[in-house]
Every structure is written in structure tokens, then in C-alpha cells.
Subunit: 472 residues, 4 copies
Amino acid sequence: MYKLYSLLLLQQIQFVEDKQEFSRFPTKAGRRSLSRSISQSSTDSYSSAASYTDSSDDETSPRDKTQLNSKGTNDFCVKNIKQAEFGRREIEIAEQDMSALISLRKRAQGEKPLAGAKIIGCTHITAQTAVLIETLEALGAQCRWTACNIYSTQNEVAAALSEIGVAVFAWKGESEDDFWWCINKCINMEGWQPNMILDDGGDLTHWVYKKYPNVFKKIRGIVEESVTGVHRLYQLSKAGKLCVPAMNVNDSVTKQKFDNLYCCRESILDGLKRTTDVMFGGKQVVVCGYGEVGKGCTAALKAMGSIVYVTEIDPICALQACMDGFRLVKLNEVIRQVDIIITCTGNKNVVTRDQLDRMKNGSIVCNMGHSNTEIDVASLRTPELTWERVRSQVDHVIWPDGKRVILLAEGRLLNLSCSTVPTFVLSITATTQALALIELYNAPEGRYKQDVYLLPKKMVTSDTFITSNFNY
Amino acid sequence: MYKLYSLLLLQQIQFVEDKQEFSRFPTKAGRRSLSRSISQSSTDSYSSAASYTDSSDDETSPRDKTQLNSKGTNDFCVKNIKQAEFGRREIEIAEQDMSALISLRKRAQGEKPLAGAKIIGCTHITAQTAVLIETLEALGAQCRWTACNIYSTQNEVAAALSEIGVAVFAWKGESEDDFWWCINKCINMEGWQPNMILDDGGDLTHWVYKKYPNVFKKIRGIVEESVTGVHRLYQLSKAGKLCVPAMNVNDSVTKQKFDNLYCCRESILDGLKRTTDVMFGGKQVVVCGYGEVGKGCTAALKAMGSIVYVTEIDPICALQACMDGFRLVKLNEVIRQVDIIITCTGNKNVVTRDQLDRMKNGSIVCNMGHSNTEIDVASLRTPELTWERVRSQVDHVIWPDGKRVILLAEGRLLNLSCSTVPTFVLSITATTQALALIELYNAPEGRYKQDVYLLPKKMVTSDTFITSNFNY
Amino acid sequence: MYKLYSLLLLQQIQFVEDKQEFSRFPTKAGRRSLSRSISQSSTDSYSSAASYTDSSDDETSPRDKTQLNSKGTNDFCVKNIKQAEFGRREIEIAEQDMSALISLRKRAQGEKPLAGAKIIGCTHITAQTAVLIETLEALGAQCRWTACNIYSTQNEVAAALSEIGVAVFAWKGESEDDFWWCINKCINMEGWQPNMILDDGGDLTHWVYKKYPNVFKKIRGIVEESVTGVHRLYQLSKAGKLCVPAMNVNDSVTKQKFDNLYCCRESILDGLKRTTDVMFGGKQVVVCGYGEVGKGCTAALKAMGSIVYVTEIDPICALQACMDGFRLVKLNEVIRQVDIIITCTGNKNVVTRDQLDRMKNGSIVCNMGHSNTEIDVASLRTPELTWERVRSQVDHVIWPDGKRVILLAEGRLLNLSCSTVPTFVLSITATTQALALIELYNAPEGRYKQDVYLLPKKMVTSDTFITSNFNY
Amino acid sequence: MYKLYSLLLLQQIQFVEDKQEFSRFPTKAGRRSLSRSISQSSTDSYSSAASYTDSSDDETSPRDKTQLNSKGTNDFCVKNIKQAEFGRREIEIAEQDMSALISLRKRAQGEKPLAGAKIIGCTHITAQTAVLIETLEALGAQCRWTACNIYSTQNEVAAALSEIGVAVFAWKGESEDDFWWCINKCINMEGWQPNMILDDGGDLTHWVYKKYPNVFKKIRGIVEESVTGVHRLYQLSKAGKLCVPAMNVNDSVTKQKFDNLYCCRESILDGLKRTTDVMFGGKQVVVCGYGEVGKGCTAALKAMGSIVYVTEIDPICALQACMDGFRLVKLNEVIRQVDIIITCTGNKNVVTRDQLDRMKNGSIVCNMGHSNTEIDVASLRTPELTWERVRSQVDHVIWPDGKRVILLAEGRLLNLSCSTVPTFVLSITATTQALALIELYNAPEGRYKQDVYLLPKKMVTSDTFITSNFNY
């Protein structure tokens, strides 16, 4: 019986409990969830892993400890180097489902397309990231790494990387001060000048701009993964301040299709099932929005035997919904009859208090769209309504007449809060990042200017990418 | 008929580690799984619920305690009557998804079709069962109840029932002696003679036969839920020893369709996702067997974008697979290329060691069919293979060359071990049981002889049944 | 460009024009359509085929002509023996898609399971039937054949069979007197006593009962294909008058699944498209009835992007519709909004005049169910409504306000009137008939009594049947 | 972009035999198919329509006749003005399925967005075009019209338009000289200067450029429908010779989705069924190419129970096929086992003679992609192979060993040759054309320069467009 949520989910819950703290890091919003496969087993490991360390250790800041890996080096700062063995196993498991990266490594036996590359990276530090980092090193690069999020580091994985000599500066539960200290350590090493940046969120890039502008003289390019970071880069570019070429990985075709259509097609079912055990067959469901996410959600639920309605204001998407066999409705038309409402519009207040008032007893409302604003959750926090947490991520909101509406993840993203991202999908993104680094690092003078680029189609569609990721 | 071995499931939920104890109750196999909605929240509740009782209490056998409910009566024996409030909430949550039973209650405001009925019951004691019991009482019956499984009782629910005056004798973690003591208490009450039996597994019926044969003089009928119990009844009937009419609920159309086709269509996805986070899209899957379970599994995976092959030896089913667009193969043809193998044939050794040897690295093998014999798991317990448990229900079996095959639930039923049965489905069965009791109790003399019957179609298809269970 | 209708369709149209005549043959109702593949090309052939015969010939009744085949024999009566060559080509084309029969022939090289069988047959005489007859002869039988329908004979095929020595008595456009004359010739040949009957509609069987009861002394069994004929056999059996075993081919699993579910899944699209060119995507459709035919129709339309509603009164079927994701409605709820109504209930007056009055302009109404009674077409033949035939099988019924409802095939079966039956499906049935003949002819004394039987599953599911019919 | 070669289609419908003539008009390739609803009924009409005219009339060129409509005017040149009544009925039937245009008319009761517009048009002249022309007039425009194809005019429709005063110059079976004479008459009328052009193929535009360049002084814009015409416009634009704004209707989102994805999803089934009556269930099909056309074909066949393989060289499309559950193959891998091959790649020689040699007996090969070059049909015209035309558009190619491969439409486009375009789809395009005319005619000075534009999304997605085209 699967019960425990992933470490990340716990982190996301913690995020929620502690919104003030979170709000200090506005730029970290919108990062993708980690795969449960890793985080779960790292959670499982705590009791046994604890035996590696004495308990007083837990209270000491990694910054105050001196640790050596088995090679006797200490150019890293992690929670506990002794957890390396456990982390190594996690990495090995992740490798199973990241065949494209493994394949890249093999190809690089002869040529080393990143020979001479000195990469500083700032991402979530998970088993999947570790597979990426180790691939980059196999291709000839030297890497220094730090976390893009104060909660998302898997300590065991950070330890495993440090053990083999990667310079990692990250642990779970960093303070803000720690966060910037780590970034600083990552960039600033005597006798070593980075020439590539891999960023997720733009904080590393920002810091280099602010503190080490000279570093850009050697940098050949930036690869950026997140919406937020890409947005910053475009602003820099517009302002004429971007001083190196940058690659926008976020908007690559493969990433978009996987993150939205294919991933959501699976995670909508997973998220609903894990939280509510609802039977999909015969249920009436309204999906608000028929973009890629909506297309994925409706396809999945239709296939499971749900009766699906769609609301949509963009006429082209409405037309597609129509031709795909979904009845277009206004939400108010069906609000009293549906069993499940799913929002994926990207807009605010798609489901209002007035509509929640009219939902039927036992109906479920959840969000697969943008951030946590689609359902007007705030409007439910009024005295006449009782909130009852029936299990993690699941609240019953109870009306005075006894009617219950089941609200999932308090209106935050269901797919991130109550489901996981398959390693396979993370592998797609990681492969794209690796290819972007290779492309920028090897591009002949003049191919890329000081602008933001999408990965050339020929790279995304290279044999390596496809052959290794698919049975083909 | 995949119900056998759900006791295993219960163990898995609660006592995965203690296999010896389980083996003492071989005959209790075949009980259905609890819905997670209950088990999870009851698990969640322990810490808080614990505050109701002092800790020494936990060690005392319920048989040695004297407890009174708030009405001052004591005709029950449960773990802790003080847990009633928590149990009540669980029951209320379950009622949300059991509208057919609630509807039956409403109809019975005027007529009391079970007025005068004295029912002894032996089932899992869960929130859903409580909704059934309270419905039977609302229809006019008096009930005495006991557990059909030593592990499956939700103590809080048992307390809640006792609190409102239902005579319940059951707690989680009974000994074998406790088990029969409870059954005895259930049957044997001075001045009260049962006239109906509701059984799940046949133990209560067996005990009445053995110890209180005279009771059958008053009994109007037996309603039996499980494969095992139904099998016993047919044996009695064949031997001319069945002395009252019996109703076979297990084989009713609704139950079969729900337990197999509709339920498996959802639980195959849920079971695979919870355990492995595998992405379904693009995966090659072979499903062995194209009965109702196979039809459900293939439909779901096809809809998620998997490439699905089918093996089947029955030609009519093979033909159906064919016309449904699945390529018929011999397992050996595809064994080297598939990512996932799912067995649902009902046969033994469908996947052999020889075939497991040829599966590719990272492939998943699991069972949705009959018991735990479809995959030859025993053949994997040889010295040259390493087993690594990567999380609950998930083992990596590692070949000498490093190849890993991911075995789920050690070859036991994935849907019971790694997924849950929706309350909605339990509601279908509970409604069927209630209707069977009403039919047998009210049948005119001579309609039913001393034989085993299926519920008449007119009952299964009554307005109550359909209207209330569906949006219709 | 599809323009020409099949011969059968033409015949069916002719039927319609001439209902009086048709009504003289009430028992011929409900026969299956011929495949267009044959009939179309035979239609095409008329001009060239005409060169074989002088035109005066066309007016002469075959009964008045003396014809010899190239072997010099004349034990047949067909339109024009000179058309044999063209008919032979038709038969060869049909063989392409009837691999099961061809495979049966090959197996019979050694054993001749019908050696000594003397079969009289009464069926549609088409290229597919010819493949069956020639297979029976290859298996050792001698055959005499006649038509079960006065319009359905393909003259060229009849000629081709006569040319190789099969005694065929049939031509297109027989009179009623011709019809019985042919049957008589088929049965009654000096020095030859039939021992098996293959019937489609029961007319041959009826005639033997009436005129040649002694023939039954030698008859080992009857194989009957049609609903009507099977119904008559059950009546005989009930009345104790059935004097030989009979095999009900109509209700064999394979035939039911193919004629209903699989065939209708395709023919609903084909029938609608050929008649109206309607685009399915986005159309709202209500399907009345969710039996096998309804399941086929809804599945197909859902897949094409239609929004499908279902009406159903049987609760088990209603439940299935529900779990398959179709919204259950009363027809009146949706009558004003739907674009297409399809009836497949088997009941009368499922769509009433009152409902037709409320349908929207341009909506389509058609019948896939039983006979022509589901839509109350008679109620539309009132003075205030104008009927306009816009093309074959398509009428616009025009209300005084200009509203048009498009009625297909005047409410008769769409799949038979406006689509065709694939040779593949006819092959399934023909194989079943052949197997039934083999089984009855070879059954040991006592296996079959004077009763109506279904083909034993082991025959239906024999290797021959499956292996040859499917890619498997 | 499968529109090229639809002239072929037209020929196929009407003049299959006369290939020489076709080759004289190479530039007219790329016109869309007519809907069968028209062509069929116009065909049907000939016998009755013939009664309007004496037969000698048929031989006289319309240019040599003087005809008056019932208002006494003669500014038109059509085959026979007396056919107007029949044509009117055709137009009325077409209106049923063109609700968006009808809705546009209603809206225009008050405002006349085309008041003052003087439009010269050159398109197929069909009932659907007539609905467009009459809508333009209802919106305030004056129209003069001519045919873009020498074969595609429906004479009755041309008559009906002339009868109500539209200046139409077109008849079916024009000579090349007639063609340009008609265009000339259309442009050149004393006292009347056109200010808008609606073109399909670019011939009208070309003629104005060549003969009446001064006309462009008044022209506010060109709306062009075809690939060919758009291509010419882009060339003019590149060369700096485009002297007015032009609107590219061909590449509008709605048109693309409808012409390719949605339309092909339906026409692949229709085309195969009408020609071969093949049963889809259980058939093995390989679809070459997974663009929009391939996506439509595979989705339809998968839904009908076919086992579908995909070949694809573009990796993004390959990935999508993969995630949609289709097995990616090389054609050679499956060539021996498939029942049907469908090409939709846009490339040449996708299916070679060598592969055709290896196809199995009875397999079908057809083309849904670009022009007639995907299947190497020429390679089949060798002495050792026998071609047998079994019906219109269907050839059996017979190998020396008796193997037959069924070739459809001689490798030309199946959807155009053997299926039809629903009026609904033509309505989408016609609405887009009307909106483009309105936009260009009313655009403020400076909004459009001398360039080629796509219709602004706000127009395509206007309420009128969507609301009226869909049930929404």
C-alpha cells in the first residue's frame, strides 16, 4: 500500500505551511516537482541513514562542519558525506529510466564534446540531476553545483556527488543566507573560471551579473530551464544587457508536449486517485480550459469512462474540443450536476464562491492549471463553512446544510502536489539541457549572438535524443 | 474471480512483515480489500485517537474489559468504545459515495421490508460495512455482527456501531480463539434467534452448521459474498446438506462487471503508477489473457498511449482482442522488447523463469489475475539473483550482468496490493447484499428451495439500484 | 466516387417500390444484405455481359429455355449459362477475403469429412455463397441449390456454379411460382436423396415438411441461418414435430458479435456517410438502445468526435453505457438539440411523430435496430408534411415552417439499406455453416436428438476457424 | 497541404478517361474537391433536367446563345438558364449545413459591411459557392463570377445564380479559350469597376495583372484560397510586384485543421469502405507519415479496431506517434504482414516496387498524402504484372504467381478520389473567405500593406464564426 508522499510533496506541503518564508523566494515559484521515485526512497532511508550520523550532527549547519570524502578532498558542502552510499543507489535507480543520457555517455567514449567545459549549475539536486551532472562530466566537463531551491535538495544524492569529487554546495533546509552563500561558493573558486552556466530560475545568472560580471568574459553561454529564468533573460536581452548567448530550454517542443499534454494525461488520473480513490467510470466531469493540459486531462478521463464537458473561451481551442467530441458548456450550466471540476485555464477565479455554493454534495474540485488562483479558495475561508482535513492534501469544506465539497491541495497544482513527474519526463528535459550545453559550447564563432535561442530542431531531433528515449 | 488473496492485501496494509501469523488462517483467503479511504484515515487517526485511551489499555484484551456505550448497554465487544466519535466521522465520509444505500433508507421510511428480520453478519468491519448495517437497521432489521478476518476490523468503526446499539464483536488483531469466540457471541444470545445470515467467507455459516444446527429452523436464508463461501455452499447443496436457500452475491452481473472490467480498468493504472511512477505513453506492454480483467487493463493502457500486445488461448477472447485492435502474440515473440508484462489469465506459470531471463533491463512484471501463481516467482529465488526491495511492494530482481526486472507485489494481485477498491464499488456490492436479504426475507413460501440462487435480475436492475448508483 | 449501389441495395430499393410483392414473402424479411463487392461488379458487368446473350433472351423465362453447360449437362436452371465466365471471376475475387473456407478446403485434401453428404441448400446465391458451395463439394459433398429470395440471385454466379456441375435453380426476379418451382427442383431428383439441409429462412425446410416428409428419413440434420428460420425450428421442436436435429447458426457467438457489435461499429459510419456526407466531428448524436448494436454505434461515433447520448431502459445496459462514458438521457431531454438520432432498441415507435416535430432543422434520423418499426414513419405521411427524395435512400421531410428532417432508408435498416456487409463477415458465417454441416453429418448416433442446437464451442473455436480468419 | 491534384479528382469524377485534355491545364491543379452532395444530385438531375432543354441545345456553345433570365436581363453566360429551378433546390439543400454563412446574413440585416463592394470571383461554381456569393450580396456586395476550373461548374447552380441577377460566366466543359473569355467577361464590364478579388488558383489575379493592370488602382485587396494561388502571391510580393494587400485563406488555422486532421479522420474510413468494403477490425495497417493527415488516419483506424503501425522520419512526429500508442516501424519490417498501406508523407516513392513485390495477397495500398507520387505506381506498369480494374478507382494488380495487390485510385489521393468533402468543411472555408473580404474591404488605411497576410485571429475566432459553425 502506497501511503507516504514524496519528499518533495512534503516539501511542498511545508512550503504551504510557511508561505511567508516561501514568499521570500518569489523567483523559485513554479519549479517542477521532483519524481517520487527518488524522494520516496530517500524518505524511507532516514531511519537507516540516521545510523550513519550521530543525532547531534543534525543540528549543526553544514557550513560549520568539516567533511572529507573518501578521496580526502573537501571542495563541497553537504549535509552528511556519509550518506553517499545510499545516494549512489538512488542515482543508479534513476539511471534505469534515463537511457538517453546513458546513451550520450557511451557515444562520448571517443569524442568528448564538453572537454574543457567548466560548468556552474544551479538546479534541484536530485538523483535525476545527478545522472545529468555525471553525464556532463563523462562528456569532458568539470562541474560545480548548487541548489535552486532551499528545500529540494536530496542530501544523500548531494553526498554521493561530493563523494566522487563533484563540487556540490547544497542541503535540504537552507536558510536564505545559506542559499546565496552556496551560490557564491559554486562560482568563486580560486584558479578556476567557469565558461558555461546551467540555471533553473535565474538566481545563479543573477548573482553572476551582480557580483562577478567579469566572469562573463569567459562564459560561452547560459542554458536556462524555467519560465521565470527565461523571462528574465528575455528582459535582459530587450534591455541590451544580455552579454552572452542563452538557450531557452523551457520552450522546446519536447518539453512542452511532455510537461503538458502527455504528463497531465497521466497525472490527472494519478492525482485524483491517490487523494480520493474516486471511480472515474460514469462520473460527470467538467474541465475548464482546453489547452494542452486540458487536452490531456479530457482524453484521460474520457478513456476511463467519465462524461466530460469542456469550458473554453478561445475559439480555436473550443473548436478543437468540439471536434474531439466534448460538449462545450458554460460552467454555470453544469455546475449543479458535475462530480468533478478541474481547472486548467491559466486564469484567475475560474471557479467562484458562488459556483462552489451550487456544487453538489460530495463533488471534487481541483486545479491542474496555473498556480493556485484558478479556484477562489480564499472565498471559502468564511465562518459559516467548516474545513475538515480528511487526509493530506484533501479538505472537506462543509456547508451549513451538511453539503461537502472536496477540495484538493487547497487549489494548488494537483499534478505537482498529489502526483509525481516520471523520471522518463525528467530525462527528456535533462537530455535537452545536455544537448543545449553541447551546442552552445561547440558553436562556431558567430552562430549565436547575445540573444535568447531555442535549441535548434536538429539537436532536439537528433538520433541520440530520439533513439535513446524511445523504443525505436 | 481475482478476489482470493485479499487477506494478503490486508496483511500488506498492516502487517506485511508478519507472514507466520497469516499462515494460521489459510481459509480466510479471498476477502475483498478495504478501501484506502478508510484504512488510510484510520491509520492517520491513531495518534489522535490514542488520546482517547490510556496506553495500558492497548494491551488488555477486549474480552477482559467491561465497556458501556453512552446508552449504558454493553452487548458488544470492541477495542475501545471511546473511539466511537472518530468512527462516526469515517462512516459519514463513506456515506458520501454510497448513495444507493442511502436511497434505500429513504424509501424504507414508510415500508420496512426487513421488519422482524434478525440478521447475524460476518464481514470485514469497515466504514462501508457500517453504512450497510445501519441501512439494514433502518429497513427494520436487528443486527449482530462479527468480523470475517482477524486483521480487517476498523476499531473506531466497530466502536461507532456499538455506540448506537449494534451488537458488534470484533477488533483488529484478534487471535484465532478470539475469532471463534466473537462468532459465537454473535449467534448465541439468550432470547434472540437469528433468522437471516449475511456471510463473507463462510465461517459464520460453518459455525452455525457445526454448533447450532437448530438455528437453521428459523433461518430464512443465507447471503454469501465470497468465492470461497459460495464454493462451500455449492458443495453443501450438492451433498444435499444445504438446509435453507442461499443467495450467491459473488456472481451477480453487477459485481462481476465492476470487480473485473470497470475496476481493473482503473486499478491497473493506479497500481503501476503508485509503485513505479512509470510513464505509460509509448511503453510496450503485453497483457496475458483477454477476459474481463484483460479487457479492462488493455483498454486503459491503450488510452494512455501504450503499445499493447495480447496473448490469449481461448479463441473467442482472441477474436475479441483482434477486433479491438490488439496484436495477438505468443509471449516469447515479444518478451525481449516489452517494458511491462501483466498477467490476467487465471492460469499458473504464465511467465516462466526462462522468460524472465529474457526480459530487458528495467522492465516491469506484475499480476492482475488469479492469486499469486501466474508469475513463477519461486523460480526467481535462486542464489545467482539478487533481490533488492526498493520500496513497499516493489522488488528489483538483479541478474548477474546487472539487468534489473521490477517485480510488483511479489507476484500477488497488483490491484489489491498496490491500489484500492473505490467506495463506489463497495457500494454496488453492499446494495446487492441488502437487496438479496430483502428478497430472501420476503420471498413467498416455495419461491426458493434449499439451493444456491443468483439474485433475480429484476432486483439487480431495480430502480433503486440503478437510479441511486448512477447519475441517471 | 461512390455512386452505384450494390445489386442487393437495388433489390432492396425495388422491394420498397413494390411492397405488395414483397409482402407476399413475409418470411424473407430480415435477411442479411449481400456484400457490395460482388454485386457492384456484377452490375458493372451487365453491359459487357449483355454481349453474351441476345437481347430477346432477357424476356424468356429460364424455365422455358434449354441450356447446356460446356460439359453437356443440363441439371440446372439459370438465367444464362453463358455468363459463367464473368461469375467465375466474381467468385475468385470473393475467395480473396474468405481464407477460412479456403483453408478448410486445403485440410480436406486428405480427409473428406463430407464424403457421401448430399446437401440441398436454399440461400442467397452470391459469390460468397459460391465459395461456400464449392468448399462443401471439395470436402466431398454433392450439392443442389436454390435461392431463398426472389431478387438476390447473382445470375453470373449461378451460371458459374452450373458450369462446373452444381445443380442450381435460381435467377434474379423469380415470380412466386418460380420460387417454389425452383425449390421443388432442388429437392426432387430421381435417384438422388438428400441427407442434409442448409437453409436460410426456413422455406426449403417448410417445403420438405409439406411435400416430401419421407425425405426426412434420410436427413441427418438441418443447418439454419436466419432468425426467422430458427424461430420456426424452435416452434416445431416445441410442438414435438421436429424430426431431425437442427443447428442454429444464427445465435453462434461469432455471428452475433460480428453481425452486431463489430459490423455495426463500421456500418453506422459508412451508412451515414454514403447517404448524407455528414461530418461526424462535433455532432450531437443520440443512440436509442445500448445492446450490442448500440455499443457498436456509440463507440464508432465517439471515436469520430461526436458527442453521444444514450437512451436505455434495461438497467444493466444503462449501467454499461454509464461506465463507458455516455450520458444517459430520456429522448425528450435532448430531442431539440441533437443532430442525429439512431435507433437500435428492437422496440416499436421509439421515435414518435411528436418527437420528430421537435427535432431541429437539418437533423438526421435513422434506424439500425429491428426491422422498420422503430421510427414511426407512418406518422410522417400526413398532408401538411412534404416529402422530397433528395437521393436514393434519403428523404427530406419538410414541415410547414420549412424545417427539414432527413430520414434515411424510410426508417428501414441503415446498415442493410445504405451500407454493405464485408465479405470477411460473410466468411465468418459461411465457415460456421460449413462446420455445422460437418458436425451434424459426422456426429455419432445419439449425440444430437430431435432438437435445436448451437454449434459446440469447440467447433467455433477450432484452429481452422480462428487461425484462418485472423492474422494470428 | 494535400490539395494539389484535386483537379485530378474532378476529372476522375467526370472525365476519368480523358487524360490528354487534363494535361493542357497544368496550372489549375490544387482546387478542392466538390462535395458529393452536389455532384451526385446534379448527376442525378440530368435526366429530369434534360426535359427543360431540347437536346440540340446541348451542342450549342453558351457563348453563341442569347438567354434571358425571368427579370429580362442577360448579363451572364451559362449553359441553360432554364435549369435555374433545379439549381435553386441544390442551393437550399447546401444552406442546411452552412449555418455560419446564414448567420452572417442575418447579422448583416442592419449593417452592410460590404456595401459598395464590387467583387470579382473565380472559384468552383457549386451550390456551396452559391451560398457564399448570395451571402456576399446580402452583406451589400455586387458580384461577378467565373469558374476556376473548366469541368467543375454545376450548370444548374450557375443558372440559379444568373436567374437572381448575379453575373455568372461559366459552364461545365469549357474550352481553354472559353475559360479566359469568361474571366474576361467577369472583369470587364462597362461602367463597373471591381474593388475586390476573390480567387482560387490565381488565374483571375494573373489575368488582371496581365490585361487590366489599371484595375488595381481601385482594388482594396485579394483573397486567395489555394496553395498554388498563394504561392504566386508570395512570389509577387517577394519581387515587389504585389500592388494590393492579399489575404492567404489557405493557411488559416481552421482550414488547416479541417482539411487535414478532422476531415481525413473521416475520409480515410469512407474512402476505404466505398472502394473495398474491407472490414477494419483486426486488420494490420501501416500509415506512412504522422503529420496532421497521418494523425487523423491512425486515430480513425485505431478506433475501428485496426492494429496500426507508423513510419515517420521527423523525430518530433515520431515521438508523438510513440506517445499516442503507435508502434514505430520501418516499412520493410512490416511489409509482409500488413493488410493495408496508407501513405501520407508528402514525399516521393515512399512505397517502392520492391516493397510492393513483398506485400501479401489481397493487401490494399492507397495514398492520402501529397499528389500521386508517394506510391511508385509507374513501377507496376510492367509486362509481367496484370492490371484488372474491378470497379471504378479499384485495380487489382496481379503478380505472376497469382498474388493480387489492390491499388486504389491509381495512387492518387484517396480522400479526393473516393470520398467527399462534407459541406460543413466547405462552410468553414467559405466563412473564412467572407470574413477575409470584410476585413480587407473595411480595414483602415495603412493596416495592410502590399503584402500577403493571414486572417487576423480575432476574425477567425469571432463569435459569428464559432457560434454559428458549432453547437455552442
